[in-house]
Symmetry: C2
Subunit: 427 residues, 2 copies
């Protein structure tokens, strides 16, 4: 592979003023008095696309809207018969959100293209930047609408979804922006995944890991899938707390606590062995119809969510949880009843691309770490469509989906540099 | 001490037909179609008193109602200048309750007196049997009204309490039965505790311990007091379950489970060391206003009830619980907030009387075990008034406060024998 050694480094530093200007313009165009609000498929999202398109055309890049209204910026490569390299992210935000969740990846892609263009570099593959629409589920109750549309994955029911604020259906919004609603409605693939050699998405980390570790960048191992039980019921035997001694109790709360602690210990051990997963009991409770302070609880419920960056981890840990429930059943004379598991498949990132990104960082001395993405991204849709996909996370100190998101321009430019070099990789 | 070796054994066996007849009459007089209902201070409780009084007078014993309407049956002793020995229990039941909870202790006392009387034995001390009124909190929302009245412990507010079914105040019920309401209202001691050399109460066990151990009798170590926190709040930090890795979590549910399991292990260890206590978290829950399956829980609450047969155990375990909460606070970065502890003092049984009862059982080959009473009893009121108090439990296979209560006549007669012999103890 080529590591892009024919370009000057750090090439993107020259574009820092443009980066700052673009983020300022994006913020200005969508400031709502508290944070930024770029409504999916609405005027603020379109205005953000226009800003990006204008900057692209100013740099001599070709821009267009695809049939689903996503903005596409193209830098032609030397080998037009090869699949192209895709990059990008989304421009919409949650209401009163931050300026970087989504936009950072679009601006990084644009700057990388501009940087190459300015230097007169013709990349081996054509590069297409996607500014995808409707990534945030806050608006239509569905995530990643833009990438779903690209791969023919929206249903009639999806098009009938209404936006929470206007109560207008997605179909109307698609018509507003001149999309090919008929093709979207019949599930036509607007883009053949086989045409895409890779999808590389830059995004701010939505959690605190990189900040806590003092690292500017993270290389995503996979986008967490999850396996959820809305309710695991632990059934014991209600009894008088005074008259029922320990050896005759079947205490549902203690059994549940035992279960939670066993999974907690396993989780730590699995992390120690290098697995990427997260285990959460977000909801627990006794039965308000019968519980009392002085009653041995006969019933307790908890939710169970397992997240992992690959299916094997998800399924193995799920099996372990059930085995522990059986062990506790035998030891404590209780019963565990798991409701039906709801599974969202993980999207492992492409191993070759992970290695490449790691090597590119090492090559220029950028400290990074591998980490899983707990939140979902358009990249998962590309990965599930069969596109070799990778993600680069930028350190962010205040979480996402709030006005306090914070990304250092320094970190952003490092990510842009790595992305640009990755685009020149040719295999 | 005298162990009553001057009486024939098993003297009470001759009274088996009378015992069966009395229990049958009591049941018949208060059968409600499902169980027995002997309403506190109402006609069914009075009818039960009348049945007992009639049987007592038939046997030549003196009967009277004290100034609080409790039935008192007296067998004069040889030493009228000494304090008397008291025995007894209550005759009321919960609605749709069983025939033995309370009544067993009154019938046992009566049979013991009749047995002595028939044999012409004049006990060293005068013996008084109390059939106490209003023990069950089901009726007026207050327990042990009869014994409270005896020791001047009822307040004006108590007299204003209304019975759940009639909504008439306790004061009216006291007037109905011709009690000295004025004396009760001003908190006069109707009975000087110093006059009572001992209070010995026979009662069915309300839990399953003796049945599980295959033992007919239990000698009560103490009546559990309790220390309750209605709410222990565990405050962590809410976070996105996908984006927040383990090492950055402050998970309130896991911290709560950790706390519950630590106390559970300590409880077992304390039992192994011979302590009598019970630990219960009857209510647990996350905050429904903010919890979600995919959210690291930022808040969890639990109740904490510690029961023990003496104050030291109660306070020491409470201290241990707080120390564990502090340890978890340090380890997990959460905070525990305990609401105000509500304490009901335990009533330890008199050590000398416990030893005597144990020796009396051994002397006639009755298998027994020491056990704490989880439920409260009139005996606790006597003990708190400073009367040396002891209790004897009779095996019962189906719990109390339900029609399925079950006591074997064989076990009952053993208890009656032991009680009778205990009454002859002279020190």
């Amino acid at each position: 592979m080529s590591s892009g050694s024919d370009i000057k480094k750090p090439a993107c530093d020259e574009l820092r003023p443009l980066a700052e200007q673009l983020f300022a313009q994006l913020r200005h165009a969508s400031f709502d008095g508290v944070g930024v609000t770029r409504d999916s498929f609405g005027p603020a999202e379109t205005a953000a696309q226009d800003l990006i398109a204008l900057a692209a055309r100013d740099a001599g890049l070709h821009t267009e809207r695809d049939r689903a209204g996503n903005l596409v910026v193209t830098l032609p490569g030397r080998e037009p018969l090869q699949s192209f390299i895709a990059t990008g992210s989304h421009l919409d935000s949650v209401p009163r959100g931050g300026n970087y969740d989504g936009a950072a990846g679009v601006v990084a892609g644009l700057l990388a293209l501009i940087c190459l263009k300015r230097q007169g570099i013709v990349p081996p593959r054509t590069i297409k930047l996607f500014a995808l629409r409707g990534e945030e589920s806050a608006w239509f109750g569905k995530s990643w609408i833009g990438s779903h549309a690209l791969f023919g994955l929206l249903s009639e029911a999806d098009l009938a979804r209404t936006r929470f604020d206007s109560e207008r259906p997605l179909r109307d919004y698609y018509e507003d922006i001149g999309a090919d609603v008929a093709a979207i409605a019949r599930g036509e693939k607007l883009l053949d995944p086989a045409m895409i050699g890779a999808f590389l998405e830059v995004h701010i980390e939505q959690g605190p890991v990189l900040a806590a570790q003092g690292l500017p960048l993270g290389i995503v191992t996979g986008i967490y899938g999850n396996l959820r039980h809305r309710q695991v019921l632990c059934r014991g035997t209600s009894a008088h707390a005074g008259a029922t001694p320990r050896f005759l109790r079947h205490d549902a709360v203690v059994a549940m606590a035992d279960f939670i602690m066993r999974l907690d210990r396993h989780w730590q051990q699995w992390l120690d062995r290098g697995k990427q997963l997260a285990v959460t009991h977000g909801i627990v409770g006794t039965n308000a119809k019968e519980h009392a302070i002085s009653r041995v609880p006969g019933e307790a419920v908890m939710s169970l969510e397992i997240r992992a960056d690959n299916n094997e981890t998800l399924e193995e840990f799920h099996g372990l949880a059930q085995a522990e429930a059986q062990a506790i059943t035998r030891e404590r004379g209780v019963a565990f009843v798991f409701d039906e598991a709801i599974v969202n498949r993980p999207a492992p990132m492409d191993p070759r691309w992970r290695t490449r990104l790691t090597e590119l960082c090492s090559g220029v001395g950028i400290a990074q770490m591998p980490l899983a993405s707990g939140a979902g991204h358009d990249a998962a849709v590309f990965a599930h469509a069969g596109v070799p996909t990778a993600m680069l996370f930028i350190r962010n100190t205040h979480g996402s989906h709030n006005p306090e998101e914070h990304m250092e321009m320094e970190d952003f430019l490092l990510a842009t540099d790595v992305l640009m070099q990755a685009m020149l990789v040719c295999d």
